[in-house]
Amino acid sequence: MKMSHFIARRLFYSIFVLLGLSIVIFTMSRIFPGDPARTALGTLAPQWAVDNLREQLHLNDPIYVQYWIWLTNALHGDLGMSLVTKRPVNTDLATFFPATFELVIFSIIISITISVVVGVTAGRRANSLFDNIVRVVSYLGIAMPSFVWAIIAMFLFGYLWKILPALGRLSMGTVHPPRITGMLTIDSLITGNFAAFFDALKHMILPGSALAVGRLAQDTRLMRSSIVENLRKDYIAAAMSYGIPERTVMFKYLMKPSLIPVVSIMGLEISGAMAGSFIIEFIFNWPGFGRYGANAMLNKDLNAIIGSVMVVGVFFALINIAVDVIIAYLDPRIRMAVRSE
């Protein structure tokens, strides 16, 4: 089987899962108590207005008809109106998504770089003082909910020592780059606005580290244990005894197999950061998709809730497919298995 067939099959399967997910989410949004029209208009609105809105939202139809209407509209790129912002949900999502995407990618870069460097160092010197310190710190990191770290970091770096900006995406007075991709770092680089680039980067450090903290600790431990495990392998001993330089052994024979477990949880990691953004963006006042989703949930804005949850689902599915492809590239056994199937 070729790689393209493998990808196609994964895509096909993901479409079914996503359809199932949309059915579950849609059903939940309709069968749980509470009238969406009444929620949207408030308790003071007259009954006729509520009835009109119910008609407009097809709430009087049977649920499978409602789902069918929603699905056909969604496939045409229309996720309905947000009852709170009074704008189409897909416009809202397109506006807010890049800010979150930028932040999530930044946090993944933080967690992968630090965990690989620290994990490899600790794994090569297992049970040294450094290894033990890393172990204790990573235990703390895993036990630290992202919002607690966000508040501690905000207090220490943002308020007490005042070395990093705590809120928003840019400081007052920085020239805002024109919106091209919606990601400030990229937009400012395209337009050559380096002041804005560094300012945007500085603003990402605190929220990015908050999104990274739990995963970072877990990855470090994973990286350490897979280094320790692979160091015991015969082929490493063989390579060393042939007199191959240690650097070559490290990067060519040790790193590649040790990276596989870390890459394989990267899908979970990115989606975890995505989920974390629902809370972290709230704290740091980051105008992104997570804050939009969390606000929709707090205001029971049904179309926006369904839209943002489905976006997370689609994103997760795509990331997982990408991760499978990367692993197949890193691990020849899987690659061969895919081919020979």
């Binding site: 199932g20 036990a143 630290m144 909910p145 905000m154 207090f155 809370i279 969390a294 707090l298």
Partner: protein, 289 residues
């Protein structure tokens, strides 16, 4: 008598394995302490009446001191007392969720695993695929917002999305065990499906389930406190740790103690359960993902 002696030997052996790691002992101590505080919060907290709608503006916003070791919040309530009650809500959440989730998830996993490659397997396992296709936190937030946000609805939300993990864990074991000789032998002598599910297969899944449960306590506490932090879980004045952190962080630079101590209390609890869970995993040598 002999069986009792064996049991004791077994216990001694397990305890030896468990206590070899000092971190496990720390975990056990922390967990015992939180459970103790949870049970006796009414008696050991300095101001038990501060758990609810209590206001005393004369002693509001006091920094940590000997009378109020963790300071007081904007309503004049003692933060230490509220943190002690906060443990109660966190543990209650974890306990309730696991009590509902573990039997359901295990049962579905047993059925799907034993009736491997039948329509039952397909239906159950494809359903779990849907639930794991999205991060649990987002799903929990969505369900508890669609229900009316409250502590009980947050529990329902987490319960609704947590069972698939147990189903998947048990499914993996059950579907491989069903081809073992002892299961086939039981089938051959005419044992009923219920006997095979519960007396032959279930005992072999208990060690990983038990390990996963101790580690899951920490996860449920984390999700629960995140929900109440964002406002989709326990509502004020409930002294839930997440609610307390979110109440306090608005007053951040000056009144840091209002949110910092409940936040550290969450870290403390989760750390304890994680260390204990790791200890139990090493002791039972069960692989759990």
């Amino acid at each position: 008598m002999e069986r009792l002696g064996l049991k004791r030997e077994e216990f001694k052996k397990n305890w030896y394995k468990f206590s070899r790691n000092p971190l496990s002992i720390i975990g056990l101590a922390v967990v015992s302490m939180t459970i103790f505080i949870t049970l006796f919060a009414n008696f050991i907290s300095p101001y038990p009446e501060h758990a609810g709608w209590f206001t005393d503006f004369n002693s509001a916003k006091l920094p940590p001191s000997i009378i109020h070791p963790f300071g007081t919040d904007t309503m004049g309530r003692d933060v230490l007392s509220r943190v002690m009650f906060g443990f109660r809500y966190s543990l209650m959440m974890a306990f309730t969720v696991l009590v509902m989730v573990v039997p359901t998830g295990t049962f579905l996993g047993l059925v799907a695993g034993y009736y491997n490659n039948t329509w039952l397997d397909t239906v159950i396992m494809r359903l779990t695929d849907i639930f794991v296709a999205i991060p649990s936190l987002v799903l929990a937030m969505m369900i508890s917002s669609l229900l009316k946000p409250s502590l009980y609805n947050a529990m329902i939300a987490v319960t609704l999305l947590w069972w698939p993990w147990y189903t998947r864990l048990v499914y993996g074991i059950a579907s491989s065990l069903r081809n073992e000789y002892f299961v086939q032998a039981a089938e051959m002598v005419g044992a009923s499906p219920l006997h095979i599910l519960f007396r032959e297969i279930l005992p072999n899944t208990l060690a990983p389930i038990f390990t996963k449960m101790t580690l899951d306590v920490a996860w449920v506490i984390l999700i629960g406190s995140s929900l109440s932090f964002i406002g989709l879980g326990a509502q004020p004045p409930t002294p839930d740790l997440g609610t307390m952190v979110s109440d306090g962080y608005r007053y951040m630079p000056e009144l840091w103690w209002i949110s910092m101590f409940p936040g550290l209390a969450i870290v403390f609890t989760i750390l304890g359960f994680n260390l204990l869970g790791d200890g139990i995993r090493d002791m039972l040598a069960a692989e759990v993902y």
